[in-house]
């Protein structure tokens, strides 16, 4: 799998939605999420710090038979413009994972919007 646009750039209401399961043929050495965020170039994307995205991600290492339990990896982030150390607005928040010894074969989970609605996108990639 190269890159999947799990959420197209658009407006999403409060609430939860499931994503996946996505398959990484042969296992992925690295899986990543890229989430569009607020910049001067497009201030409509995720502008409010009070608007949160919460991910609950489940991983499988055996072809999708067994997944890690919900709550294994939960991550939440607010919006708004954030700057890197060069003073440039960061266009995406990115989180990625790698596992040893067994590569991840499948991923699924839920994403929850609170304090929204939110305008953003979500890309999922695996290498």
């Amino acid at each position: 799998m190269a890159k999947i646009r799990d959420l197209r750039l658009g407006n999403y209401p409060n609430g939860s939605r499931a994503f996946g399961p996505y398959t990484f043929a042969g296992g992925a050495d690295q899986i990543g999420f890229s989430i569009g965020r607020n910049t001067p170039a497009d201030p409509t994307i995720w502008p409010n710090a009070s608007t949160s995205l919460t991910f609950d991600v489940q991983f499988s290492f055996d072809g999708g038979v067994i997944y890690t339990l919900p709550g294994t990896w939960v991550w939440s982030q607010g919006g708004g413009e954030i700057l890197n150390k060069l003073g440039v607005a960061i266009p995406e928040t990115r989180v990625s994972w790698a596992f040893n010894p067994d590569p991840c074969t499948h991923i699924k989970g839920t994403v929850t919007v609170s304090g929204g609605p939110i305008r953003t996108y979500l890309d999922i990639d695996g290498l």
């Binding site: 690295q30 990543g32 965020r37 991983f59 290492f61 890690t68 294994t72 990896w73 939960v74 991550w75 939440s76 982030q77 954030i82 700057l83 890197n84 150390k85 060069l86 960061i90 995406e92 928040t93 990115r94 989180v95 990625s96 994972w97 790698a98 596992f99 040893n100 010894p101 067994d102």
Partner: protein, 240 residues
């Protein structure tokens, strides 16, 4: 039993540094985490984790920090909720070891030469003096001087590379391990760092950690209603 599993979690543009649980963690395992964060960032350890060792603060080629954290006795439902004091790129690498001592402190060698280096260059990691059957983990990081610089490394001799990660946001980090070593000084560990993407200089820092084996209890043959005296086998005999 020693190395069980490990993970790398990379971040860009967040203070929420929730690392990923290694696969198969069970109660009684020992967990260690190397946390590499770009900039001058204070890392709050995850719940019930302890920051051990120094925070290795680099200023060459620019600011970046490296810290080492531990949870001596895992529960199997552990939290990995590290937090940065400000938004930054980061990589957290968590290693799970089985059959390690529940209380004895790890021995740590710290390296922070705070120098710029041109690819390829040799990373010289301060070693440790290990006890018999210690597991050794080498957490290292490379501090790139351009945001998307990506560096790769080989492994120290007799070590197994578990992770060699880059987040395209200033930080590269590596984990190498060696199980059940013999007692004695490891000497310095050397690795070669090579630029993969980019052409710039880099600094580096590292923690080499010796994690004690679980005690080996000696049954003295006394009946169960008597006090058992426990010794731990060390190099060349017994040690208290």
């Amino acid at each position: 039993m020693a190395y069980r599993s490990s993970t790398t979690t990379s971040f860009s543009g967040t203070t929420v540094l929730t690392a990923t649980a290694p696969a198969g963690v069970v109660a009684g395992d020992r967990l260690l985490a190397g946390v590499a964060v770009d900039g001058t960032i204070t890392v709050t350890p995850a719940t019930n984790w302890t920051n051990i060792g120094s925070t290795l603060s680099m200023t060459v080629p620019d600011t970046q920090g490296h810290s080492l954290h531990e949870k001596k006795v895992a529960t199997g439902s552990d939290l990995y909720n590290f937090v940065g004091s400000s938004v930054a790129g980061a990589i957290i690498q968590v290693v799970c070891l089985s059959n390690r001592h529940a209380t004895t402190a790890a021995v740590i060698g710290e390296t922070n030469p705070n120098t710029g280096n041109v690819s390829p260059f040799t990373m010289t990691l301060t070693g440790v003096t290990a006890a018999q059957d210690d597991d050794i983990i080498a957490f290292s990081e490379i501090n790139g001087s351009a945001q998307t610089d990506t560096w790769g490394t080989d492994s120290p001799t007799n070590y197994t590379e578990r992770h060699d990660a880059a987040n395209s946001d200033w930080v590269c980090a590596e984990t190498n391990t060696r199980d059940n070593v013999s007692a004695g000084a490891t000497g310095s560990l050397t690795m070669t760092a090579t630029i993969i993407v980019g052409t710039n200089n880099a600094g580096y820092s590292a923690f080499v950690v010796a994690v004690p084996s679980a005690s080996t209890s000696v049954n003295t043959g006394l009946p169960d209603n008597r006090i058992y005296y426990t010794k731990t086998f060390g190099a060349g005999g017994l040690r208290a």
